[in-house]
C-alpha cells in the first residue's frame, strides 16, 4: 500500500511496509492491542447447588417429554397412537364442523330423494313416456311454490314437461316431509344433474307447508298449478355459502 522507504514507517497504522518490532516503540500501550487487559486464569468457584437443582428440574421436564416418545430407540414404532386426529374426538356437546348451506342441503336432499328414485331415477331423467325428467324440467327449475305443491300433494292428469306430454299420477309425499327435508329435497333437485337454480331455504319450505295446509289434501293438476301457484315461495333467502350447523341448520357466525 505505501512506499517502504518513506517516513510512514513511523506511523502507527501499520501498513505492509512497517516492521512491527520497529514500530513497537510507538505501540506503548495506547493502541487497541496495547490497552487490552490480559485474560487471566479462570476462577475456581464450585458449581453451586441451585444450578444443580435447576438442572435437575430441567432434566425432569425433558424426561417427561421423552416418556411420550414410546419405548426408547424403538425403530418399529412410527406414528404415535392418537396423534393424527379425526373430527370424531370432538366432544359431543361441542359444535359440529360448520358446513356451507348448499353442500348441507344437497347431502340431506339426496337422502330424501331416495323416495323418488323408483320413478325419476338416480340420473334425474325419469323414464321416457312414463315418468317425466327432473333434469332440465321447467317445473323444477321454475317457480318454487308450484314445485313444492307437486311434491307435497302429488299431481294427476296431463302435464307437459320439457316439451313432452305426460299423463301420469304422482302420489303425495307431503305427509312424510318436514320443512327441512322439503327444503333440502327441493334444493337437491334444483341443483343436481346440471340444474342450476336457487336454494330453497327452510323458511320457504315452511311457508310451502302452510300454503298446502290451506289448500286442502287432494292431488294438484297442471292447470291448478299454473293458475294459483305459479310464483316463488315467500321466505328468507339463504345465500348458498352460509355456514350452517349440521345439526340444527342454524347459521354459525364464523369468527372474524
Amino acid at each position: 500500500m505505501s512506499d517502504p522507504s518513506s517516513s510512514s514507517d513511523l506511523r502507527p497504522d501499520l501498513d505492509e511496509s512497517i516492521n512491527v518490532k520497529d514500530a513497537h516503540g510507538a505501540l506503548r500501550g495506547d493502541l487497541a492491542a496495547g490497552r487490552e487487559k490480559t485474560v487471566r486464569e479462570n476462577g475456581m468457584e464450585a458449581v453451586s447447588l441451585w444450578l444443580v437443582l435447576i438442572s435437575a428440574i430441567v432434566v425432569l421436564a425433558a424426561g417427561a417429554v421423552m416418556g411420550q416418545g414410546g419405548s426408547f430407540f424403538g425403530y418399529s414404532e412410527l406414528v404415535k397412537e392418537g396423534y393424527m386426529r379425526t373430527p370424531s374426538p370432538v366432544p359431543q356437546d361441542a359444535p359440529k364442523l360448520p358446513i356451507a348451506a348448499l353442500s348441507l342441503f344437497q347431502k340431506e336432499g339426496k337422502k330424501v330423494y331416495g323416495a323418488c328414485v323408483a320413478c325419476h331415477q338416480n340420473s334425474g331423467l325419469g323414464q321416457t313416456g312414463q315418468f317425466p325428467p327432473l333434469a332440465g324440467s321447467e317445473w323444477v327449475l321454475g317457480n318454487t311454490e308450484a314445485l313444492s305443491m307437486i311434491i307435497h300433494n302429488g299431481v294427476a292428469g296431463k302435464i307437459e314437461v320439457a316439451g313432452t306430454q305426460y299423463n301420469g299420477n304422482m302420489s303425495a309425499f307431503g305427509a312424510n316431509l318436514n320443512a327441512k327435508e322439503l327444503a333440502a329435497l327441493m334444493t337437491y333437485i334444483r341443483t343436481s344433474w346440471g340444474n342450476d337454480a336457487s336454494i330453497v331455504s327452510p323458511s320457504m319450505a315452511a311457508n310451502a307447508l302452510e300454503i298446502s295446509k290451506k289448500r286442502g289434501g287432494s292431488q294438484t293438476s297442471a292447470e291448478e298449478l299454473k293458475k294459483s301457484h305459479d310464483k316463488m315461495l315467500p321466505g328468507d333467502i339463504l345465500p348458498p355459502d352460509t355456514m350452517l350447523d349440521p345439526e340444527t341448520w342454524e347459521p354459525i357466525a364464523t369468527e372474524k
Binding site: 517516513s7 496495547g34 479462570n42 438442572s55 432434566v59 406414528v79 373430527p87 361441542a94 355456514m243
Partner: protein
C-alpha cells in the same frame, strides 16, 4: 511512558499486534461481506414477511415468489452472514488464543471470496426457482461440496494453530471454537450425504434436514457465540471467568444435548417415534448450558455495570448471553408435548429460530466485531450513535420477534388446532402476527444499515485515529466521540 525495553508485557503487545496484522485482510473481508449479506437477507426477510400478510405484494416479480424469497432470506442469513461472521471470529480468536500469527491469510482471503461467490450463485439459483427445497439446505446440490472445500480452506489454519500452540492451558473459548470447528463438517457432511447423495426415502431426507437445521445452531453458531463471550467478558472487564467448573459443566452439557436437537420439527410424522421426542427433550435440556453460561458470564461482568454500558463489545455480548438464557427458558415451554403441536406449523418456530440466530448468535458476533475491528484496522469506531442505534434497534427488533412471532404464533397454532373454526379464521389471525414480524424486520433493517455502513467505513480505513476507544458513555464531555486523546501524534512522539 518511554518504556521501550522488552518487558514481557510489551512483547505481548507486539505479538498481539502482529497477529492482528496477519489476519486483518481476511477477517475484515469476512466481516464486511457478512454485514452486506445480513442487510440483503433482512431485505429479503422483509419481503418474505410482507408476502405472508399481503400476498399481492410484489407479485409482478416471479423471482420474488413467496417460496423463493423465504428460502433466499434464510440462506443469505445463514451462509452469507452467520457463517462468515463465525469464520472471522474463529480465525481471529483462535490465532489470538493460540498465540500464533496466521501464515495463510492470502489463502483464507481467496477462499472467502470463493465462498461469497458460491453463496451468491446459490441465492441466484434459489431465486430462479432451482433451489433444492430442503430446509436450511436450499442451495442446489452442487453448491455444498464447494462450500465445504471453502470452509476447510478458511478454518484448517485455526486447527493447525491450535495444534502447534505453545503447550499450556487451553482456554474455555478454545474448547468451544475447536468443538464448533469439528462439529460443523460432521453435521454438514452427514446432511449433504444423506440429503443429496443418497437416494433415500423423502421422509429420511426431511428428518436429516430437520436435524441439520437444529444442530447447525446448537453445534456451530452457539459454540462460536459462547466462545466469543467467554473471551470478551474477562478480556474487557479484566477479571477472570467466574468459575472454571461451571464453564466445564456448560460446555459438556451443550456437547451432550446439542447433537440431539432438530427432529422435534417432525413430531407426528411417520418416523421412529422416539426421534422427535428426543429432539424436543434435547431442546428443553438446552436450558442447562444456557443457565450455566449465562450465570458464569454475568457473574464475570457483574460489578462492572458501567463497563457493560460503555463498551460496545461487552454490551452486545451481555445482551446476547441474556437472550441465550431467554432462549433456553422459552425452549422449555415451547418443546413440552402440548406446545409442540402449536409451534410446528405456526410463526412460533420461525420466531424461535430468529431469536437464536439473531438474538443469541448475531448479538454475540456483533460484540466480537466491535472488539476485533479496531484492533485489525488500527482505527477506532467512528460514531457512538451508530453503535447505540444498532444496539437499540436490534433489541426492539428481537423483542418484536419474541412478542409477535413466538407468543402470537401460539395463538395461531391454537387456531390451526381448533377444528370448529374454518381455516380462514386462523389465517386472519396469522396475518396480524405477520404485520408484527414485518415490523420486527424493519427494526432490524434499520439497525443493520447503520452497522453495515459503519463497518464499511472502517473497512475503508476511515475510522478515527485515536488512542481512545469509542465508548458509549452518556455524557458528551468535549466532542460527540468522547475524549479524543492523542490523535495521530505518534510520529511527533517518536521523533
Amino acid at each position: 511512558m518511554a518504556e521501550t525495553n522488552s518487558t514481557p508485557d510489551s512483547e505481548d503487545v507486539v505479538l498481539r499486534s502482529s497477529i492482528d496484522r496477519s489476519l486483518r485482510h481476511p477477517v475484515m473481508f469476512l466481516f464486511a461481506s457478512g454485514a452486506l449479506w445480513l442487510v440483503l437477507s433482512i431485505v429479503l426477510g422483509l419481503v418474505a414477511s410482507a408476502k405472508k400478510h399481503n400476498p399481492e405484494f410484489l407479485t409482478c416479480f416471479s423471482w420474488l415468489d413467496a417460496g423463493k424469497v423465504d428460502a433466499a432470506h434464510m440462506s443469505a442469513m445463514i451462509y452469507g452472514w452467520g457463517s462468515q461472521a463465525a469464520f472471522g471470529i474463529i480465525i481471529w480468536l483462535m490465532a489470538r488464543l493460540s498465540r500464533k500469527e496466521c501464515t495463510a491469510s492470502g489463502v483464507i482471503l481467496w477462499a472467502a471470496h470463493v465462498w461469497n461467490a458460491v453463496v451468491l450463485y446459490g441465492v441466484i439459483r434459489i431465486m430462479m426457482g432451482e433451489g433444492s427445497g430442503v430446509t436450511y439446505m436450499e442451495f442446489p446440490s452442487e453448491v455444498w461440496p464447494l462450500l465445504l472445500v471453502c470452509y476447510t480452506i478458511i478454518t484448517i489454519w485455526s486447527l493447525i494453530q491450535f495444534q502447534v500452540r505453545d503447550a499450556g492451558h487451553v482456554y474455555v473459548s478454545q474448547w468451544y471454537l475447536l468443538a464448533g470447528l469439528l462439529w460443523f463438517p460432521w453435521i454438514a457432511v452427514t446432511a449433504w450425504v444423506f440429503v443429496f447423495l443418497m437416494d433415500g426415502h423423502p421422509l429420511m431426507i426431511a428428518g436429516v434436514a430437520a436435524w441439520f437445521k437444529g444442530t447447525l445452531f446448537t453445534l456451530f453458531f452457539l459454540p462460536v457465540a459462547l466462545g466469543s463471550a467467554y473471551y470478551l467478558a474477562p478480556k474487557v472487564t479484566g477479571r477472570p471467568v467466574y468459575s472454571y467448573n461451571i464453564a466445564l459443566f456448560g460446555f459438556w452439557s451443550l456437547a451432550v444435548f446439542g447433537p440431539w436437537a432438530g427432529m422435534q420439527k417432525l413430531v407426528g410424522a411417520p418416523i421412529p417415534q422416539f426421534l422427535p421426542y428426543a429432539g424436543a427433550a434435547s431442546m428443553i435440556l438446552i436450558l442447562i448450558p444456557a443457565i450455566a453460561v449465562g450465570y458464569n458470564i454475568i457473574k464475570t461482568v457483574i460489578g462492572n455495570s458501567e463497563l457493560v454500558a460503555e463498551s460496545p463489545s461487552l454490551r452486545f455480548t451481555a445482551a446476547g448471553i441474556v437472550l441465550f438464557v431467554v432462549f433456553g427458558a422459552l425452549s422449555v415451554f415451547l418443546h413440552t408435548v402440548p406446545a409442540l403441536k402449536l409451534t410446528q406449523f405456526s410463526y412460533t418456530g420461525y420466531g424461535f429460530d430468529v431469536l437464536g440466530l439473531y438474538g443469541v448468535f448475531s448479538l454475540c458476533a456483533f460484540g466480537a466485531i466491535y472488539f476485533i475491528v479496531p484492533r485489525i484496522t488500527r482505527r477506532e469506531w467512528l460514531s457512538r450513535r451508530f453503535i447505540k442505534w444498532h444496539f437499540f434497534c436490534s433489541l426492539y427488533g428481537i423483542s418484536s420477534v419474541v412478542i409477535c412471532a413466538v407468543a402470537g404464533g401460539l395463538s395461531q397454532g391454537q387456531g390451526i388446532e381448533d377444528l370448529s373454526q374454518p381455516f380462514g379464521t386462523m389465517a386472519e389471525r396469522a396475518s396480524q402476527i405477520g404485520w408484527g414480524v414485518t415490523l420486527a424486520w424493519a427494526f432490524l433493517l434499520f439497525a443493520n444499515l447503520f452497522f453495515c455502513l459503519h463497518l464499511l467505513l472502517m473497512w475503508a480505513r476511515l475510522g478515527r485515529r485515536s488512542s481512545h476507544p469509542t465508548l458509549l458513555d452518556a455524557h458528551h464531555p468535549t466532542s460527540p466521540h468522547g475524549p479524543e486523546g492523542e490523535v495521530d501524534n505518534y510520529s511527533s512522539a517518536s521523533a
